[in-house]
Subunit: 187 residues, 3 copies
């Protein structure tokens, strides 16, 4: 079976394209959200009760949970074709956090890393009226975010030997993006 | 002795510049093509008969052969000054494959990684009438390819501590590029 | 306690911003220069007498000293909040050297990597009359240097899980850059 990592900034249309791709595909995939898996493990360990409390977990514990989640997802990918929905990097006021640091991505050992992207201008327009996307302040800032995401994904690919696929999702072309995603998943 | 990795997309003029550099140089280098070495090992193991069949080898076996070839090339570089002609990444319809994943580049332990490049516009013009270069569809696509190549090379340099040299080969300047290559090889 | 790596090309104003930040901060930081630490160790080992002789140390010995310095700095960061002043990459005539190769950055295990930057045009203007900055020949060359620095920093962040923060220091805004640095250090 296989493990494919799907990354993309908020505003690139990841949910829409993924949903459309699952409708188009004649193969079954198990979609897992990395953050959800980490939350599940943290709850089981009585570390948190709500998702918001995940931010309060200390760095070392956070890394442990990240590694444990990676192990479980890898195990699952032996029996199923897994799509791991996550971020190659997350922008915070204190810097870009690598979403797939070495201990995580080497444990996951993905076949492919797929980065869904759109132009910085399009992401800006799509997210400017959405309160949840306060990290997207300017077109220039989004361009930097896209660069860091691609650069960290490239490092992840070198660490694992995974294919790095980049799929564009410009305005009005979600169907084409979904078709390309289906083809890449199948390959 | 030394091991230098030479990378460059099709259309940057790698063969021409390398040939010219070997003529200019007063030192002897052993030029090895990574793909050739892998094919040689695969034939010895009766895995393939022709070069084309290399694409049919399963991922795990492919990685093994990649690692074994790296080991042999590293051994050779103890007695000779080796130039390893290869790609930091290869574009396929399913994504960019890292040509020098961690297990390969750490085994090779190169002194230098040299990336020969030209502008996306020049590469487009040089390859548009060549059927072998179907991966170069558009200037924008080539620009992305160049970025990924440089990013994966940078990750390889961080993994090994190798120098990362970037040499430009604009139209009509193959001799200057060859001279810079000779100087870098010698340093 | 904590270890923060601060990188930035010559001409981005690292000394000025760091000095200003130390004045603004209500916390105490121990600032260590990686190169100084390596020189100190090399002198203790009777390998060199002057800083200039550091360039003559063979590669293998250089890597050993780099690793030993990293170990000492990591030990120090257990008791103190350390800011490590260094370079993610150094441009030489023979290529870009990774300033934080894998064995160094994994040993340091930084919490944050902060890259101070300015536009290529500003760096060019700031350094063009300074004889020490002969690596900054052209705006285009500085742009490439900035890209490689960010790409190697991104690889370092993936190897360690460290935050990668990018702080701009445009002309006349050193105070704002220092304030952002203080906030990031504290976070």
């Amino acid at each position: 079976m296989s493990l494919t990592i799907l990354t993309g900034l908020s505003g690139v249309g990841k949910s829409t394209v993924l949903e459309e791709a699952m409708l188009l595909s004649d193969k079954d995939y198990t979609v897992i959200n990395y953050g959800d898996k980490m939350f599940e493990i943290s709850k089981e360990r009585d570390l948190v009760e709500t998702r918001d409390e995940m931010k309060e977990i200390g760095t070392e514990t956070y890394k442990e949970i990240q590694a444990e989640a990676a192990e479980k997802i890898f195990e699952l990918s032996k029996d199923k074709d897994v799509i791991l929905d996550t971020h190659a990097t997350i922008k915070t006021p204190h810097g870009y956090i690598p979403g797939l640091p070495r201990w995580s991505v080497e444990q996951l050992n993905p076949n492919k890393i797929i980065m869904l992207q759109a132009s910085a201008e399009e992401i800006f327009e799509r997210t400017k009226e959405d309160d949840r996307n306060r990290e997207h302040e300017s077109v220039e800032g989004i361009q930097q975010y896209l660069n860091i995401e691609r650069e960290m994904s490239a490092a992840d690919a070198v660490l694992t030997g995974a294919y790095l696929q980049i799929i564009n999702n410009p305005d009005g072309a979600a169907k084409e993006a979904a078709e390309k995603l289906v083809k890449t998943l199948k390959a």
